[in-house]
Symmetry: C2
Subunit: 260 residues, 2 copies
């Protein structure tokens, strides 16, 4: 059984990909909706919260974990791997590999939360594979609240203006590939593409799910997905459909994450 977690609902973009490739897999999803966002918090707090998230998933019996959160993958994965005896996959390595494959001109842009960009994790992994690649990284702290508050229409003027302001440096840098370093961002990919036409976008959640698929042997379950959240179950149910493009059904439960 695979455990997947995110600060909130962004990680559902990875679930979508896992279900496509491994429809028989049983999955436990945890979204920390009572403490989202993670990306504006300090590294210490991100580590503390993600330890609790992993402990909770292990208590449900998962034997592999996908961190479907750019912020946690970039800031806490080494510590989590050293502390927990279970294979842990993140979004950074998978996305970095994909960006190295895709770029033609050797110029890669990276966007993410404040904490993700500050960590430098994507740049480190890209340059470990191809030291010749140049990068420009920009934090986009308003993208998560925009997505979570429904400013997701491809024509939304506020989201477009915000994208234009945030992506200015990456545009003038001339990147041909952009890592969407936060699992929320694929939801506003059409807006980003309008500001950066012709640029290849790397969907980190989907790439991480593909990497997971290549790395683990199928466990052969019944394809049951259980969702756990740290805030209200009903608001998760309705909002999750935006990310998942399928109903989550009644398998949504509340968990007191502070106890883990």
């Amino acid at each position: 059984m695979i455990g997947v977690f995110d600060s909130g609902m962004g990680g559902l973009t990875a679930i979508k990909q896992i279900v496509k490739m491994m429809p028989q897999e049983d999955i436990i999803y945890f979204g920390d909706t009572g403490r989202v966002p993670y990306g504006t918090r300090s590294k210490d707090t991100i580590i503390k919260y993600s330890r609790q998230d992993v402990r909770f998933l292990l208590s449900k019996g998962v034997d592999a974990i996908l961190i479907a959160c750019g912020t946690v993958s970039a800031n806490a994965i080494d510590i989590l791997r050293s502390e927990f005896n279970v294979p842990i996959f993140g979004v950074v390595e998978a996305a970095a590999e994909k960006a190295c494959e895709l770029t033609g001109n050797g110029k890669v842009g990276i966007i993410g939360t404040n904490a993700t960009v500050k960590s430098g994790a994507y740049v480190k992994h890209i340059n470990a594979i191809r030291p010749d690649i140049e990068t420009v990284s920009t934090p986009c702290p308003l993208f998560v609240p925009l997505v979570e508050n429904g400013f997701t229409d491809a024509e939304d003027e506020i989201t477009r203006l915000c994208a234009k302001r945030y992506l200015e440096d990456i545009k003038s840098f001339g990147a041909d590939t952009l890592i969407l370093g936060c699992t929320h961002y694929p939801i506003i990919a059409p807006v980003i593409s309008k500001v950066l036409p012709g640029v290849d976008l790397v969907n980190t959640g989907a790439e991480a799910a593909k990497k997971l698929f290549e790395s683990i042997s199928p466990r052969g379950g019944s394809g049951r997905i259980e969702y756990y959240v740290s805030d209200d179950v009903d608001s998760f149910k309705s909002a999750a459909s935006t990310f998942l493009e399928m109903p989550v059904g009644d398998n949504v439960f509340k968990v007191d994450i502070e106890k883990y």
Copy 2:
């Protein structure tokens, strides 16, 4: 000693007013920066978090509490008052009274977080004082992230567009008075005033501080303010100056709020 708390830094707009009126008062401030924002969470989670906040302040020896947070004042004050044996002041009553005083045409607009508007608390208190007053309430969930991410310039196009969209109904309703039902909003008052010229704005944090001043006898301390936060101390120190318009000094400490 007075305890003041908020989900994050918005409550500092109340501290400013308290210091002005009661410079001798010792104050303990708690900002839940590790779990901000509260306004997008469920009522249950808001109650749970605010109970912890009150328990923490009581552990520091405060004998009166000001909830400098619109979301908690609107959703949890009755429960907190029934559970804790200490005078608890909120922002809703004070702001409702001020709006009733100010309005000439009997039309009051209310803006706040999702949870605040959903609670109907401001409307209830206004109509308890003056049943003839008509109100229109609009949630503005993006205002807190805009403020926290520095989109606070009076000329910022994104904030202005956002304000224009959110305040459209209140503008056509013809309110002459607007309650800024969240203690973050005074920071972008100039933008709000551009969209609603001539409308009186009620600063809830400042009104609540005035009410506190009228209600309690001076305790005669040394004017020492201690700040506690649930995330990184240094980022609080630098950001707090925006709200407080004075340096917070070295009296900022970290607290593990989940233990309370």
